[in-house]
Symmetry: C2
């Protein structure tokens, strides 16, 4: 194994670490308050924390198909937490259920990520065609991980405004 191979694997590890660090931050936040507090809006008139939690689960769950890792765990959440804005759907899962979903999803993703090779990460994600990928090789699976990590930071900034 040459030095360059080391770097590639190392950088992929760094991207996975950044992702794991964000997950840890969210998990820690979810253990900060009683479940009822997450029903509150993060600021007056804004999304409720429970909605942002459902949104993060739904978007992260979508990585399973984007990365070609099998069947999604919670595809039913898209309708409520991606396609619909907050407070427009009456029956959303409870905070307790979404917290369980969050942990189960992280475990599943972490397991699947650990089985991916460098070639897997450098390959195209499923929403890019083979033809487009020839010209846009940066639209690979690693890019999905990088952008989802940033997406999570974005909403974590908002979640941290929540008050008990």
């Amino acid at each position: 194994m040459n030095q360059q191979t080391d770097y590639t694997e190392q950088i992929i590890q760094q991207a996975k670490n950044a992702w794991a660090a964000q997950n840890k931050t969210v998990s820690k936040f979810l253990n900060k308050y009683d479940d009822a507090v997450y029903e509150n809006e993060i600021a007056p008139g804004r999304n409720r924390a429970v909605y942002l939690l459902g949104h993060l689960v739904a978007v992260n769950d979508g990585m399973i198909t984007l990365l070609g890792l099998g069947d999604r765990l919670f595809p039913h959440l898209d309708e409520m937490f991606i396609k619909a804005p907050d407070k427009t759907v009456n029956d959303i899962p409870s905070v307790a259920t979404l917290k369980q979903n969050w942990e189960a999803l992280n475990e599943a993703l972490t397991h699947r990520f650990s089985q991916m090779t460098t070639q897997d990460w450098m390959g195209r994600h499923t929403s890019v065609s083979e033809e487009d990928f020839v010209n846009e090789p940066l639209r690979n699976k690693l890019n999905v991980l990088i952008s989802r990590t940033n997406h999570q930071s974005y909403h974590m900034g908002q979640l941290n405004l929540l008050q008990a």
Copy 2:
């Protein structure tokens, strides 16, 4: 150049692209409203947008020394925007000045980043000792870029709550 070399350079490029995309999002946001609007809090009782802007400039400017790229452009901002919370310092720069600082800094960082080699990015950042870096090789300059990109997303999530 072998395939592995390509990947290393490519992944560094992806991290730089993610950074640039975040910068673009913030720059676009800064052109959304009249300057006076950025004096508002992002939510009642929370940080003002102008403070978060100063904070982003100060933290990103800190990358210049962390990455060993020369002298910082705006070291005087740390006192107001990192060490002090919002609304505790009377004389902070105007929104117009901070917007100029933001653009000048991005230009300077983009230029400096473009001159960095793979070896540079894989080297230790200046707050890690040579001894520690032997055991923790992931604490390299690229890691600073990745974490600062996430930091920017975090605050962008908050800035987007601003209302005119």
